[in-house]
Symmetry: C2
Subunit: 127 residues, 2 copies
DNA sequence: TCCATAGTTCGTAAAATACGAACTATGGAA
DNA sequence: TTCCATAGTTCGTATTTTACGAACTATGGA
């Protein structure tokens, strides 16, 4: 098993962060993790991401988050404990993650409103 | 020629914005455009992005920015005038774009510092 | 030693991206 | 009107990235 890669704080890039968080599954994972306040295992997120996502795919998503510098993963017995690196990133890119998380919440709330308005799976046609 | 697609403000997603700005060429274009204060043509950015980038590729980048809702493009005679939609987006996702642009500037400044420190094209080895 | 659990890696099919060639739309000159 | 130049788009294809099942690795416990 190859050792996990955690980039040094100075090698974390804005593009890497944005790319990592531009995927709905990953941003959901990250948001949940940021809100959790304590380290969480990978499998925890099988519940967060309600679709039954293959664990190989989930593993890749964690790798992407890790190599973008967003999270730190440490083996703890048979499982893997993940924590966000938001403190470090806040130092390097002040306000970036809070703004993304805030925007993410705005979007979640809007989605919830839309779902309440039109129950079945219909979408607005946007030319 | 198909009509240009500009998503309605309510259909602009955080993921779409992050994806669009997760490319170094696109974020450079967007940053320049946001700083310009007036509409700019596509070809303007051939200078901003110093690499000689093919115009088909540049066109695709503009399309990505446009369809993510970040910019608005209007034909003006023989050329295309582009403006950011930062006002609208600020309403929907307050603070998101300023934070990304700020982080981008931090990164540019760090790169400039590094380049001054080590003139030739050498990079830090980050395992 | 054997098994279960948690996650990684590999192989391959599907999707996204880059870029040259060909095309479209507009404006100006002959 | 016809022809040409400019600015940008679209198409075709090679390359890169991503998704996911199958096989593998690492740890803990019976």
């Amino acid at each position: 098993m190859k050792p996990l890669i955690h980039p040094d704080i100075d090698n974390i890039t804005v593009e890497g962060i944005l790319h990592a968080l531009s995927d709905p599954v990953r941003v959901a994972i990250y948001a949940d993790m940021a809100g959790a306040g304590c380290a969480q295992t990978c499998s925890t997120f099988l519940q967060v991401v309600d679709r039954s996502i293959p664990k190989s795919t989930l593993s890749q998503h964690f790798r992407t988050l890790r190599e973008a510098g967003l999270i730190r993963s440490e083996r703890q017995g048979v499982e893997m404990l993940n924590t966000t690196r938001c403190g470090e990133i806040e130092q390097r890119f002040p306000g970036l993650l809070p703004a993304i998380m805030s925007a993410h919440r705005v979007q979640l709330m809007q989605k919830a409103r839309m779902a309440r308005r039109k129950p079945a799976g219909s979408r607005t046609s946007t030319g």
